[in-house]
Point group: D2
Chain length 306, copies 4
């Protein structure tokens, strides 16, 4: 009996908003361990399949990571006329990498993740997520803090994708500031496109300093053109945001453009298509108002006053 | 401190899927009582404001009931050229009624709810939801089982809106069967439109006999034209479906048509506009596939074999 | 199915120790309301029957309130040669009163509770607890803060019983200080006995400033003779302490004395007898050590430095 | 902040009674794995230290395993005039073994546990529990089902201690039947003593077929003399029972006898002493009544009719 386990078993709870949480009954603890940087758990859930947790926080589930990753990757990749060189900041699970590699023009992908051991654990326990992506000869793994990489590298990219953890400490927050976006801009080619995950639309501003509205506003203060977009990711328990940005007028995030491109390159996806593109970029009235009324541009110096 | 209350306080948990639930910390029990038909609770939550519960199950929150109600009501109302006579099945809280009354062509609205006491409790404890709608001279309250009303009435409607509780017992399930839809069809005018809430998109088929895919398929077996659509309702913890249906070729659910109508009638909404209409009707690939691969047409006789 | 309700229903959680709680599934919300001083709820539970909550904290259950009340009342009442005049501080539910009235020598009982409405709610919703005790002609209800009553009254008592809520705020803490006990001492007759509930033995010192060890030490600093004792109260989720105190050498808390008295007066109890008295006063080694090693005498002035 | 973890973290819940559970916030997952027979987890908790779980059910915590083990072992060991040969059924964690070895007359201890891997995991992750006991030259480890061992062995023991898991399946239940006790009796020397853990006093009969009252009655149907006794084990969330039994009139479980023995052998304990012995054997009125009114003798054949 399924429910028995709630009274006699193991659960994971994640706070989604103040006084509001969602709860997963654990079917099996598959792996528990510590890297030099963080705690890593892989659990099994009745519906969500395997769930990866870093420091006790769910990062992805095999039930729906493809929704999250397809929508993080394909809008920026399709908006670019011919992406050859791509960087993924974070993304040690390999899911975003898998999606990037589906684009036939791609010649080189840098994956910059701070924790090599997480990559190894994901290779071993979540092979359905990375799907051999780490073995692709186009891939270069860089084990480094993404902020540091961006500060130091002279590489330039057609597309940079930020697949980062939640901005809940000074360290992770620093990957969502104006200063960081200004640095990162220098690593984009002329037609270059940046895309980042952008937190929970309805809830993040209720308890995070860096939140959906601040990310959108901060990106807007740096890039000439930007668009937030969204999707509901079942295992996240809430509607999730992304934000795409560029300085080029040739970048086109319209669903019609995406549709045309999709007719050429025939992406093998489970969730994404031109209809999803159309739906994702339509934010409702109250959310457009929320972006304007809440939060402000975040700079490095704001993070120091803790 | 907000979290204190989780270790020493009152919670409401709602199962969203097998082994998966969301949990609300209760800030205040505002009302608890029993009508002759069900238990009714009104609680207060930090984020979601007031939450109405029937037999322990959350029905709406003041944080987002307008998302749910605007999307339930405006697509069918705008798809009809000139809705004058409308029926709401269920909807004792008055939220759908409030939205229907915003349409200037409306001359008469029947609200058919089985529990008069729920209406009274909502008038008293949730005035922000019904917003005086019950006092509008165009409104006729019918205290009756919706199935029985449809079987017995000779009234005909331009729009019928089903704002029903979850199909978890034989009684509530009977409002989602082919037999019921066939009866209801006779109560629609020639250009008449039917719209119903249609349960959780990703999860309902995992534990309900009547679920999102079966509702879509059953409606499709009766009406000549139908379209499922969706929105994320924060307090529901998952993406929610609706299904609109008609036998008339003059019915137009395109966002362009909605946009044109909206330019004429200037609806006062918080969530809904033409962009929402556009987004709501784009179902992703995996969901279109889900509808085809899962569930089947449900008839009254299926409910007897329990 | 019982467990269904855990995934879709109402719970009460009470913190027992840091990071440790117990959880009650609510079968029915019987009453919810606010007096001028606090929130009052009465719920029904599968095993524990009715549970009374003040400000969201469980106070008693009909499953075992008689364990708590019999052990709070009978040891001090039997230790006194002939208790005629008794005061109960708190105890608005009437359970301690019911037990006191069982002693045939009793002529007058003062019940001093700050909240008259709680008494009325308990009379109406928990008649099995007070069992008509409030109607006994020997009873005098005083609606007043117990601290204030003790400061102002010139009445003297044979037995004073403190049936108080947890010391979690300055107000309730002030009923567990040396200053209070010194005042209270003046209201005891020469052979007078004081007895108080004394919190969770293993856990209270882990998160309360006023805790089992501090109560025992503070009482000991005031009274010439005192003894902590204990019992497991199922619905409390932990072993609970009491402390009895007196300045008279004629007071005898031995189980042999209790036994002799019980042979004379034939108390009608469900839990208590001489064996319980024997067991209750034997504290294990680790607890005797805990009292010595943790906490200190608490005075009014300690409560000001918050 | 401690409570943060409840909304964003890992919990273990254990059902204590129908609709009633206690919940541990997990500070760290120390070990997770599977033996050939069961799942084993070791977690760390703020208060309870390390907790061992078998198949998701808490077995012991380092906070209080010594309460459980001292009370399981010392009453039977002290009641015997001179225990030389002892058997422990179950007890793979080594805690009962550690206590048995404290008795100076002991020459040989058999520990019969079905799962060798559990012993190895406990040696590695819970060294504070077994405290080197497995390395004592007097110890013999037998990896075998305890029922089978008792059926097959011709060894005779002065004391047999049953340190078993809960009777929740046919296999574990078979270690609490009349048939088993009759077999086991043949393995006791003339003055031999048997002692078993005997489940939760107030709750076990509410949901287990084999429960505290049935264990007491079944033992009583086999042995000439027996006594249930109890203690509150904090991490168990309820008062726990044991039952000691013998056919010899020379066996003395009085606290006076224990006290006299303790003066001779000076046991190094943290919880147990003569006062604990006195307290443990005094069952309150309602529990003595419960034993008589609930449950019945359980035989092997009762377990077959599932």
């Amino acid at each position: 009996m399924v429910e028995e386990s709630l009274l006699c078993g193991s659960w994971y709870a994640e706070r989604i908003a103040p006084d509001y949480a969602h709860v997963f009954v654990v079917k099996e603890h598959i792996y528990t361990g510590r890297t030099s940087l963080q705690r890593v758990d892989v659990i099994r859930h009745e519906i969500f399949g395997k769930i990866l947790l870093l420091d006790g926080k769910p990062q992805l589930s095999t039930f729906d990571e493809w929704i999250y990753h397809e929508l993080l990757v394909h809008p920026p990749m399709l908006a670019h006329p011919s992406p050859r060189k791509v960087a993924i900041l974070g993304g040690g699970d390999g899911g975003a990498l898998r999606e990037v590699l589906k684009h036939p023009t791609v010649e080189e992908v840098f994956l910059i993740d701070i924790d090599r051991e997480v990559i190894e654990i994901c290779k071993k326990y979540l092979p359905e997520v990375n799907a051999g992506a780490f073995d692709d000869r186009r891939v270069r793994i860089v084990v480094k803090d993404a902020r540091k990489f961006i500060q130091e590298t002279s590489e330039k990219f057609d597309v940079i994708i930020a697949d980062l953890t939640d901005p809940i400490s000074g360290i992770s927050e620093s990957l969502y500031t104006k200063d960081f976006y200004l640095q990162l801009q220098r690593n984009l080619e002329d037609n270059g496109i940046f895309c980042t995950q952008a937190e929970s639309i309805y809830f993040s501003h209720l308890y995070f300093r860096v939140s959906f509205p601040t990310i959108v506003k901060t990106i807007r203060s740096v890039f000439e053109r930007s668009s937030p977009y969204k999707a509901w990711i079942p295992s996240f328990g809430c509607e999730w945001a992304y934000c795409i940005a560029s300085n080029s007028i040739e970048v086109d995030t319209s669903w019609k453009f995406a549709k045309k491109k999709l007719e050429e390159i025939k992406l093998d996806t489970r969730y994404y298509d031109a209809d999803v593109q159309k739906s994702a970029f339509c934010l409702p009235k109250n959310i457009r108002k929320l972006i304007e009324s809440v939060g402000r541009v975040i700079e490095d110096r704001d993070l120091r006053n803790v």
